[in-house]
Symmetry: C2
Subunit: 397 residues, 2 copies
C-alpha cells in the first residue's frame, strides 16, 4: 500500500506512524487530528464519531483497544488508497499552519525512575555517603505522583521557578535556606505513557494486559530545579522542584506503531516478584536526542531502561489503585552507559562540577533563553524510521 499524501511515503510520519494530537488552525476550535507526512487531518471532518469533535483525545482514548486498532486500520486504508484522495486531500491542513494543544486532559501523573544508570548517577551525587542505589531499586520500579495540572504542551515557555534552597556554604546539618530563582534548572529526558482504558478501584492490571490499557507514548521533559529538589525531597520526595512544569509532545504515537521497536529488556537481577514478571520483547528500542539551542548534546537510549512499561503499570496498580482515561506515567530520566547518553544536565555536568561543551561554551545548568528539544525515533513496522513528536521548551526568567 502506498500513501498518496504528498511527501508522506518514506517520511518519518508515514502510514506506519499516524500519531494523534489536538490542534487549532485559523479560527477553528481545537479538534482531534492525525498526522500524515507534513499534514494534519481533522478527524471530525471524515468520521462521525463524537470522540473526534473534542478539544482532547480523552473521549477517543476511552473507547479502548479494539476501537484504537480499527481506527488505525481505517486511517491506513484512507491514506493508502488513491480512491479516497479526492475526498480527503482537500481536508488536509499543513502542519506548519496548526498550533498543537495539550493532546489530552491529564488525570493523574506518575513519574518513575526506571533507568539503572540514571538512578546510580543521581544516587552518587545526592547521597554520596550511601550506596548509590537504594535497597528497593532492583525490586520494584520506584515512582511517585507529580502535578497533573502543570503538564504543558511542547512550545509552552518554562518560567524559571523560584523557591527555597540552601544558601551557598550552607549544609543540611546547619541549613540557611534562602528564597530566589533556581540556579540549577535542569531537564529530564523521558518517555511518557498515556492510559486509555480505565479500571475500577480495587483492580490491578497484569503485565500481560499492558496494551489493553495504554494507548500510546510521547516524549516528556520533566523539568527539574535541582537546588529546590535537593533541599525539599527528604523524606517525602520531589515536590516544588518538579511541579512548576512538565512538558509533553503534542503528538501521541500509538503503541501499535512501535510493534517493530520492541526489544528484550537488558536483564533483571534479582528476578522480580511474580506480579512484575514479563516475557521477551518487553522493552522498546527508541532513540532519543537532547538538543540544547539546536545542538545535540546527548543521545539517551530508551532500550537501556531496566524496568519495562508493563512493569510500571502493574506496579502502579498492584495495590488496587484505579486508572482513569488520561493518566500519564513517565519512564524517569533515560540515561545510557556512556556519558554522551545521559538524559539530564545534572548527569551531563556531574552535578555542575564537570561542564560539558555546547554552543562553543562550557555548560552546566539551564540559562534564561535556553531552548531544549527532545526528539525520538524508532523502527516502524515497515522497516523505516518513524518519528515521535518533539517536545520543546524555552526558559524565561
Amino acid at each position: 500500500m502506498t500513501c498518496w499524501v504528498p511527501g508522506a511515503a518514506g517520511s518519518p510520519y508515514g502510514l506506519d506512524n499516524l500519531p494523534y494530537g489536538v490542534f487549532t488552525n485559523a479560527d477553528q476550535p481545537a479538534r482531534v487530528g492525525v498526522r500524515i507526512g507534513d499534514f494534519v487531518l481533522p478527524l471530525c471532518a471524515v468520521a462521525e464519531s463524537a470522540a473526534f469533535a473534542q478539544p482532547s483525545l480523552n473521549a477517543f482514548l476511552a473507547l479502548g483497544r479494539e476501537v484504537w486498532h480499527e481506527t488505525r486500520a481505517w486511517l491506513i486504508s484512507l491514506f493508502g488508497n488513491e480512491e479516497h484522495r479526492a475526498l480527503v486531500e482537500p481536508l488536509l491542513v499543513p502542519v506548519d499552519d496548526v498550533t498543537l494543544q495539550l493532546p489530552f486532559e491529564v488525570a493523574d501523573y506518575v513519574d518513575f525512575y526506571c533507568s539503572l544508570q540514571h538512578a546510580t548517577n543521581v544516587g552518587k551525587m545526592f547521597r554520596p555517603d550511601s550506596d548509590a542505589l537504594t535497597p528497593n531499586w532492583r525490586h520494584l520500579p520506584i515512582g511517585y505522583h507529580g502535578r497533573a495540572g502543570t503538564v504543558v504542551v511542547s512550545g509552552t515557555p518554562v518560567r524559571r521557578p523560584s523557591g527555597q534552597r540552601l544558601a551557598a556554604g550552607s549544609s543540611t546539618s546547619g541549613p540557611i535556606p534562602t528564597y530566589g530563582p533556581s540556579a540549577r534548572l535542569d531537564i529530564e529526558c523521558e518517555l511518557g505513557f498515556v492510559v486509555g482504558t480505565p479500571t475500577l478501584l480495587g483492580e490491578s492490571v497484569r503485565t500481560a494486559d499492558f496494551e489493553e490499557h495504554v494507548f500510546g507514548v510521547l516524549p516528556l521533559n520533566d523539568w527539574s530545579a535541582r537546588d529546590i529538589q535537593s533541599w525539599e525531597y527528604v523524606p517525602l520526595g520531589p515536590f516544588l522542584g518538579k511541579s512548576f512544569a512538565t512538558s509533553v509532545a503534542g503528538w501521541v504515537t500509538p503503541l501499535e506503531a512501535l510493534e517493530a521497536a520492541r526489544v528484550d529488556l537488558p536483564g533483571q537481577d534479582p528476578k522480580p516478584l511474580d506480579y512484575l514478571s514479563v516475557g521477551a520483547r518487553s522493552g522498546y528500542d527508541i532513540d532519543f536526542e537532547v538538543l540544547l539551542n539546536g545542538e545535540v548534546v546527548s543521545r539517551p537510549p530508551y532500550a537501556a531502561l531496566y524496568w519495562s512499561p508493563a512493569q510500571m503499570l502493574a506496579h502502579l496498580t498492584v495495590n488496587g489503585a484505579s486508572l482513569r482515561t488520561g493518566d500519564l506515567f513517565g519512564s524517569g530520566t533515560i540515561s545510557g552507559d556512556d556519558k554522551a547518553q545521559r538524559g539530564s544536565f545534572l548527569e551531563l555536568s556531574w552535578g555542575g562540577k564537570e561542564p560539558f561543551r555546547a554552543g562553543g561554551m562550557d555548560r552546566t545548568f539551564l540559562e534564561d533563553g535556553d531552548e531544549v528539544t527532545l526528539r525520538a525515533s524508532a523502527t516502524g513496522v515497515a522497516g523505516g524510521r518513524i518519528a515521535l513528536g518533539e517536545v520543546t521548551g524555552r526558559i524565561v526568567a
Copy 2:
C-alpha cells in the same frame, strides 16, 4: 435571626454552618445541596444558577469568593426568615434519605506533613538512627503529590491493599521483599482544604490571599499501608502505600463558617522566610475525634499544627505551579502532645510495639471489618459548636 427549619437552630448544622455537598436521593440525579439541621436543600430547586445543577461542586467553587459569600448570605436569609418557609420547606430532603457523593472532582491532591508532633513521632520510628526531624522541616511545610483519582467519599469501603513489603526478619540491607496484603494498614487523621479560584501557570499565591482561593474544608483520612510505605518510600516518597484510597467527608464546610475558630499558631522557630510569613490567627481550632468501631480512640487537636494552611498554599505555589478548581490539599496527620491525641494507629501503638485498648482488646493496625470514623467540630460564628462532615470507611479483605 432564628432558623425556621425544624431542629436546626442550636444544632451542629445551624445557620452558622451550612456545608455544601453533592447528593442523590430516590431516583434523582446527583445534585448540589446544602445541609441545614437534619435536612438537605437541593440548590437547583431554589436558584437558577447552572452551577447547582451539576453532579459536583466544581462549577460553584470556580465562581470565586464574592459569589461564595453572597450565596451564603442568601441561604442564611432563606433559612432565617419565616417568610420563605412555605416555599422552601417542601423542598427539604431528610439527610437520612440521601446518599452523599464525592463533593467535587479532585484536580490535584497534595498531602502536607504539618504536625511537628506527628513528624517527630514518625521520624523516631522510621529513621531511628537520624534526627527525628529532617533539616528542612522547620523551614518549609513539607508536602508531596498524592493520587487524585483514588480520593473517595465517606462510606466507600476500603479494600486492604496488596503490594510489595519486606518479609519478616528481612532488613533493608539484605532485603527479601514479598507480595501480599498489607499487615500494617493505618489511618491518617487530617483536614483537607478545597481550592475554588484557580491561578495561571507562573503565579504564586501570597499567604494573605489564602481565602481568595480556598473555599472550605473537610475531614480527610489518608489511609496508609505502613509496610508497603516503609519499603518503597526512599528516595522518592510515598506512592503505593497511600494511593489505594484517600477518603473525604461528603460535606465541605466553607471557611466563612470557621471565622470564629481562628487561632494563633503554636509558634514557629526559626522565623520562616518572607513568602511564608503569616499574622495572628492563622491557625484553626478544630477538635477531631478518631473512632474505631464506634469508640473514640484519639482526639487530635488541629490547633496544634505547626504550619498554617495559608503557608501550605503559598509554598505549594511559590514555584509558579498553577491551581485548578478542585485542587485538594491535606494538612498531614494531626497529632497533639499527648498520646491520646495522636492521629494515626502507627503513633497510637508506637509502630505496633505498644498496643492500645479499644473494643476491650489490644489493638495495633487495622483488621478486616474495622470501621474508622473521623469527626470534627469547631466554634461557630454564633458561639455554639458546628460539626464538620464525618468521614467513615470500613476495611474489606
